[in-house]
């Protein structure tokens, strides 16, 4: 009794503290929206760390409340983002000195691309916490790490200083090792190791590029600004010679590309996603893979536009492999989670193809696809997790006719599947259509090859739906299984609503994204 009161008191106190904190910020002259966003999840991480494991429910409630606060803040960020003529590209800017000796400062700001990604992250972390409601093994560390990870993600999408960027990037990536290694399933140690080593290799490659950009600020800086700095703004004003851009762009592209599942450096992704616990798969495929694509745009294309123009036509060939090869691989899988994992490889190929087009339709489509795929694949992994929880298997052959017993899960699975195969009315279509338009303008044959991917996608998605959920219930073990719980339904409803809303009325989100894409393209067209 006493412990219950104490625990609920903690939740109430946490809520009150959160409200007070946000209120205080709002009352001030300057609202540090982005820092607040990160502070919310970071604080939650610390608080959760302080609660003993036996108060499992309070850990979950605290996490959910703070994740919800993060969601609300990310929505506020998107709603307040200014669009139209004459507004600055980067908004909600924050700046304070940090390590002057190195030229590193705490600089944060978001453009339209960043805002879309922050919104995606807010949605996925809240739904991810809801999807983890049944985690019973060491919940304290699980939720603390999850919230820490997402703090890093929020930071990367807003970083305007390479040092800060790299720091948050590692904060976002490294907890994965523990989360998969401890809470995972199957060959989890192998998968965790593989994933981490791969991503560190990516980090090493991009670090080479980062250092080149950093030292370049002194050499090639704008007149009167020959100082070493990590500031992205200064780098955007630095005239890196074409040779330097051409040399270092592949480091940046491949470094970030590894995280986006760029073929042939993608094999960490199926293993990692399949072994990871539900919420981690959601976050990883939903958000972390987008860090890679985001980095390619923010660092690679924006800072080395000449390098991008030179290299991206070559790299676009690999994205075709991503799309079609990923889809065919997905078709051959027997484990449901591997199907979804390979579908991510295929869909991220569409994102990178969109970036490679370097035109308006393609790049807008790529960013929208990042958002759309994040929601969709988050939903997929949540659904696989929920199904596994009931059936204790992920083998497609052992399913069959589950729709009769779990109509809610089957319905949501259908929605996610339809979004995956690019059905109009759901967000995937708008994004893919834009990418294909862009790709068509770049190269018709390549566009046609990429479009074959959507037929294969339809084939494997519908095959999975048919084998798992439709037809007569064949396995007698499932006579007693139940449908999704209310918390799970809430999680799925949020994700499905976003898919439908963006699919039917993409105007608002596209206009935000476009306000960020426009300046990037202007840099590419202007040759830096």
């Amino acid at each position: 009794m006493v412990t219950t009161v104490c625990a609920w008191g903690t939740v109430a106190a946490a809520l009150a503290g959160l409200g007070w904190f946000v209120g205080l910020q709002l009352a001030g002259d300057t609202v540090y929206w982005i820092s607040n966003l990160m502070a919310v999840t970071a604080t939650a991480s610390v608080i959760v760390m302080a609660i003993p494991d036996r108060y499992e429910r309070f850990i979950k409630w605290i996490s959910a409340v703070f994740a919800f606060a993060a969601l609300v803040l990310s929505i506020c960020l998107a709603l307040q983002f200014q669009r139209g003529e004459g507004v600055s590209t980067f908004q909600f800017a924050e700046s304070s000195a940090w390590i002057p000796g190195l030229g590193a400062s705490y600089l944060l700001a978001v453009d339209g691309i960043g805002v879309a990604m922050e919104l995606l992250t807010g949605i996925i972390i809240f739904c991810g916490v809801l999807a983890s409601w049944r985690v019973e093994h060491r919940p304290r560390e699980f939720f603390a790490l999850l919230l820490l990870l997402v703090t890093g993600v929020f930071g990367v999408f807003a970083a305007q200083d390479l040092f800060v960027f790299f720091l948050f990037y590692e904060v976002a990536v490294l907890p994965m090792y523990l989360l998969i290694g401890i809470w995972g399933t199957g060959p989890k140690e192998y998968s965790a190791m593989k994933l981490t080593l791969y991503l560190l290799m990516g980090s090493a490659l991009m670090l080479v590029g980062f250092l080149a950009l950093y030292f370049g600020t002194e050499t090639y800086g704008a007149p009167g600004a020959h100082t070493l700095t990590f500031s992205l703004d200064a780098m955007r004003r630095t005239a890196y010679p074409i040779g330097v851009q051409k040399f270092y762009f592949p480091f940046l592209f491949i470094g970030f590309g590894i995280l986006s599942g760029f073929w042939p450096l993608h094999t960490w992704s199926p293993d990692g996603h399949a072994s990871a616990p539900t919420a981690v798969s959601m976050l990883h495929a939903g958000v972390l893979m987008k860090l890679g694509a985001f980095g390619i745009i923010r660092i690679g294309v924006e800072l080395c536009p000449e390098g991008a123009r030179f290299w991206l036509p070559y790299f676009s060939v690999f994205t075709l492999v991503n799309i079609t090869y990923g889809a065919f691989s997905a078709m051959s899988q027997v484990d449901l989670k591997y199907v979804i994992a390979y579908s991510s490889v295929s869909h991220m190929g569409i994102v990178i193809l969109g970036i490679c087009t370097l035109n308006d339709a393609g790049l807008n489509g790529a960013v929208l696809q990042m958002f759309s795929h994040g929601i969709m694949t988050g939903m997929f992994f949540a659904l696989v997790g929920f199904t596994y929880e009931k059936t204790h298997t992920r083998m497609i052959a052992e399913y069959g006719g589950l729709g009769a017993k779990m109509p809610v899960i089957a319905t949501f699975f259908t929605i996610a599947g339809l979004a995956s195969l690019g059905l109009p009315g759901l967000s995937g279509f708008v994004a893919e259509f834009m990418v294909f338009l862009g790709a068509w303008q770049m190269n018709r044959v390549m566009c046609a090859i990429a479009a074959v991917g959507i037929v294969v996608t339809a084939a494997y998605v519908l095959r999975v739906l048919q084998k798992c959920f439709w037809g007569p219930l064949t396995n007698p073990h499932y006579d007693e299984i139940t449908d999704a719980s209310p918390v799970q339904i809430l999680c799925l409803t949020i994700l499905a609503s976003v898919l439908v809303a963006v699919g039917m009325l993409p105007g608002w989100l596209v206009s935000i994204i476009n306000s960020g894409v426009g300046p990037v393209l202007a840099r590419v067209a202007g040759g830096g």
């Binding site: 593989k194 080593l197 042939p264 993608h266 094999t267 199926p270 090869y325 065919f328 691989s329 078709m331 051959s332 899988q333 035109n359 308006d360 339709a361 807008n364 006719g401 729709g403 009769a404 339809l418 195969l421 059905l423 109009p424 009315g425 279509f429 708008v430 259509f433 834009m434 294909f436 338009l437 068509w440 303008q441 018709r444 566009c447 046609a448 479009a451 074959v452 959507i454 037929v455 339809a458 084939a459 519908l462 095959r463 739906l465 048919q466 959920f469 439709w470 037809g471 007569p472 219930l473 993409p506 105007g507 596209v510 206009s511 476009n514 894409v517 426009g518 393209l521």
Partner: protein, 636 residues
Amino acid sequence: MVAAGAVAVSALAAAPAITVVEAPGYLWLIPGLPLAAFVVIGLVTRPWRLLSAAVGVVAIGLSFVFSLWTFIAQVKAGPDTVLASSLPWFTTGTLHPMVGLQVDPLSAVMLLVVTTVALMVQIYSLGYMAGEAGLSRFYAYLSLFCAAMLGLVMAHSFVQLFVCWELVGLCSYLLIGFWYDRDAPAFAAKKAFVTTRLGDLGFLLGVLLVCTTAGSFEFSEVQAKIGAGLLDPRTLTLAALLLFCGAVGKSAQVPLHVWLPDAMEGPTPVSALIHAATMVAAGVYMVARFSFIFHGSPDAMATVAVVGGITAFFAATIALVQDDIKRVLAYSTISQLGYMMLALGAGSVTAGMFHLFTHAFFKALLFLGAGAVIHAVHTNDMWEMGGLRKSMPWTFWTFAIGSLALAGFFPFSGFFSKDEILVHVLAYSPALFALAVAGSFCTAFYMGRVVFVAFLGTARGGGAAHAHEAPLVMRGPLVILAGLSIAVGWWVWDFARFVYAGEMEEVHIHLGLAAATQLVPLAGLLLAAGMYVYRSPDPEALSNRFPGVYNLLRHRYYVDEAYDWLIDRVVMRFSAGIGWFDRNVVDGAVNGVAWLARQTGAQLRYLQTGRVQHYAAAVFGGVALLLLLARLGGAR
């Protein structure tokens, strides 16, 4: 640019002036009401089955009223007036797709067809699906289908047409698989979606080609650019062929026809609405709508005609030997869609669209009649029926009217539309004309066979012996559709002055040709009567005498088998190969690197022996080596 502009002006001056009028607001209600019904049923009335059904019926009823209103307004305004209205969908730097509605004669006719048949089917389903637990779901899907189909026929842009095109495909998928806890519907639904998706790949690429070349998504702007000669003939041919791929999939033309017979696994009202009257006709509508592209390319037109002609004949021959009453009708639908394509390919939008118009009513009638029979006898196999004329007179007579209309007998509506097609095809290509006439012989034969076997004679099964006439709610739509199947043919002269592409066509009923072509179905009908009423010639003796032909037809020319082989042996093996490659070659390389690192570490660790002597030896050796190298370097 200046020259192009001048051409555009002269081209516009040559064509009859099109007046664009801002559409009245109620136009949005035509697709909007069924869409609202879908949302309301899904979110609110789902637990109350009958209320959901009522919501669906009322919504489509109102849609029908507004469509009729629009149609009358369009007739009054004349064929050169277009009602249009649009709103922005989303905007980027270069893209400005709009959501809009547009009504011209073509759309107005389609509106009438879709809402009439949909209303009849939804009323009929109140009886047919009465005992169904998933009635709310059924009406939700039907409403969504109506919304998408109405959005499709009123689309004003390529993007919107594609969006609605895919959405009707989704509804088809959901409704074929309506009884999801059975194997066959689940499989058929998947097959239908994936097969049409294959065609839609071409459609998508065609849309991309047209829109990027013309720089606009909207029909009117693209049409103006093509009229001005801004698209070269090769591009037009490629675009038309790519777009036609979509029509081949949706309208079940050879070789993508395999999904439609399997789609009969869905509830029969769905077969009537989606897989006979409306959605499958969307491909025909699309080709007619894009006549401004197709007419620019004789090669593409020839392709459309040949594919249509082959389909018309080929599907009709398969229908000759089917036992399942719905499958006979399904192959018949494929065949009739082939006739429509043939007419379009021969250059007559009027003939193709008029056949679409008449076919919608009599084929919906036939499916609903078949549904009434299946409802009564609980089997699809016509050999287990028989003698239903007595127990189900209303169904029999309406079914007979539908059959005569389908076979193309005067004075039923099918006569007028088929005659129009034959006149145009004869002028276009005698070979295709021969195919079409042969097809019409088969049509009369297989419909005669169904009527004689299912309705005449004596009951051959327990279900047939105890069959009861369908309830009023099912009979009513049958009677109305039968009335339409008789009446609408006489509209042919006014139709030709209303729906056309390019130049208006005058209708001449060619008396000699009409008389000659009436003999062909008559012969088919008499042969069917001889075989299935008088057993002379005996059908079994015939099939034993020509086993090769019989088996070829029974196995539907082995096309399904060929696809199965292709999927199992080629596609699945290829994907398994890719999966193996990824696990073993790509990942093998990754694990190989890891193994190399581990092995290197494992070998190198022996260097760390912990003995000072060894370390000292290494240090001295190293220094000696360095000195040696320095010495050699210095010497050079």
